[in-house]
């Protein structure tokens, strides 16, 4: 990644953090200051979704081209997705403690992200269980495609078809964005910043995988 981009990302996310925590926000239902979780919790969930979809894409590319590097890329993206999914779960659970009175309520959103964590946990269990590199790449690429197909269902569909205490998604059932303009700007900037952070992390992990690959050959 270009030096300019890295320092730009640092400044961008620093500004996002400052606005997200210190800028005044309008009253959002009964949430008060707790509504600020939106700026961090939703972007982590978003990045995990992007990372899982990218793992699907790399898995499919491995199946097409049989280049082992794509398998490493899929694993790198899935690992980042798992980390961000855990971050989204933890931040959501802390928010739930103060808003709903308990860390865990088996709310549809909590249940769906929990299932996703299990699905991708199983992906790494599968990878560690197969010794042959080629066999592992084949099996885990097919698994990452199948797992990736379930992601939109667990993230976008399931929580919308079951009654939930979770606040309305940004684009809600009426199909409209209902958010204060200033909050929306900070929120979208945070989404962009977190996506940039994911891109940089993925870039680092892929470069490490390339070096490992070079050394093993």
């Amino acid at each position: 990644m270009d030096k300019f981009l890295k320092y730009g990302l640092f400044l961008w996310l620093t500004a996002v953090i400052c606005f997200a925590i210190a800028a005044p926000i309008p009253a959002v239902g009964s949430m008060g200051e707790r509504a600020r979780i939106l700026y961090f919790h939703v972007p982590t969930a978003w990045v995990s979704t992007v990372a899982f979809v990218m793992a699907l894409v790399y898995g499919a590319q491995y199946i097409r081209k049989r280049d082992i590097l794509y398998d490493y890329k899929a694993a790198a993206s899935a690992a980042l997705g798992l980390i961000f999914a855990v971050l989204a779960t933890v931040t959501g659970a802390i928010w739930a403690k103060f808003e709903w009175g308990a860390f865990w309520n088996w709310d549809p959103r909590q249940t769906s992200i929990f299932v996703l964590i299990l699905v991708y946990g199983a992906y790494f269990a599968l990878r560690s269980a197969v010794e042959s590199e080629e066999q592992r790449a084949k099996l885990s690429s097919v698994y990452s495609i199948l797992a990736g197909i379930t992601v939109p269902f667990f993230v976008f569909i399931f929580p919308r078809i079951v009654d939930s205490l979770h606040p309305d998604p940004i684009v809600n059932s009426s199909g409209k964005v209902k958010m204060d303009t200033n909050m929306l700007i900070v929120f979208l900037s945070s989404l962009a910043g977190f996506t940039g952070l994911y891109a940089w992390m993925l870039n680092l992990r892929i470069r490490i995988a390339k070096l490992n690959l070079k050394e093993s050959r």
Binding site: I17, C18, I21, A22, M201, L204, R207, L211
Partner: protein
């Protein structure tokens, strides 16, 4: 002390910025190390 209890958001802001700076510096150093190994 009174300032901090009345402005808890700034305490959170300080802690979050320190954490972010730590993550950024770690990633930057990792990037530099990788660049050096790639050059070899």
């Amino acid at each position: 002390m009174d300032f901090l209890t009345q402005n808890q958001n700034f305490v959170v802001l300080g802690v979050t910025l320190i954490l972010w700076l730590g993550v950024f510096l770690y990633m930057l150093s990792l990037d530099k190390k990788l660049k050096n190994i790639e050059k070899e």
